[in-house]
Amino acid sequence: MAAVMVTRAALGLQRNKHSSGTALEIDIEAVVLCFILRWPDADPSTAKQHDFNRITEDGAEAIALAVAHKTKSWRVVRRMQREEYADWLLEHQESGARRLVALEVSGVDRGSIAARLKDELAQVAKSTDVDQRWAGVVGFQKPKAALQSLEVRTDDR
């Protein structure tokens, strides 16, 4: 599963004319960072074996999980069923206590990610049984990843 997700992330980036080593702009709760994103090259001739939207969605999840681990040290616990209103359950330590995070992720092949982030926040707001609820959106046109918790309103930004 992880290998397919990484391949789809690579295909999503490569079809937007990016190559490994490109800059990824990361926006975490209005703090903007820049990282270099590297990935194993995917053979573009295999792109037709994958559904166009799955490339965007699974690729976005792969990038969002990598960003969450790199910047927040979150660890994946499990995938969630759609009706739990989040794609992934993650965990981290806070003041010695284990905290659970619901993360809802979406991808945008072309265009702005701001509107989608609002939708994803509305979705993850319905998630229960977790300590924190976060949404993430990854844009492939100009590689960009935004992660935001429910507690920070998008209107404030």
């Binding site: 799955r54 994946v76 616990v77 499990r78 995938r79 969630m80 069923q81 359950l89 049984d129």
Partner: protein
Amino acid sequence: MTVDELHALVSSAIWRAEQLDGLDLETSTSAWAEVSRVEEELAKVLSIKDAEGRIARRGAVRAALKAKDYARAQDLAQRYAGEPGAPRTLSAELRDMLKADANVLSEQFPFAARHYKPADVQAQANRLHQGGPFGLAA
């Protein structure tokens, strides 16, 4: 099997079932049956008092419904709702899942729904499931 291993298994199983759903393949029902079984294994090792335990229990029932195994979904929901320490919210969520599924069934078969309640049909399915062909397993 450790909890981490079961979490990895359930993640792959959900992902696979979702991919098959997206392709409208009939095999997605057996993929969801697999999800239900792994969620059930997780529910056995995770307490109902833990968030992950409740997620697994909801997941086991929901995946059984997606696998169109109503008898199993009802059985699991009944079992989890009756567990000591089961929060009322979980019991209500499980009940709502079964109810929502019954409503979908009524919408899919409007003529039959005029004559039979989904609960009666599901009860009959349970009897057939437990009794086997011609009731020989009863």
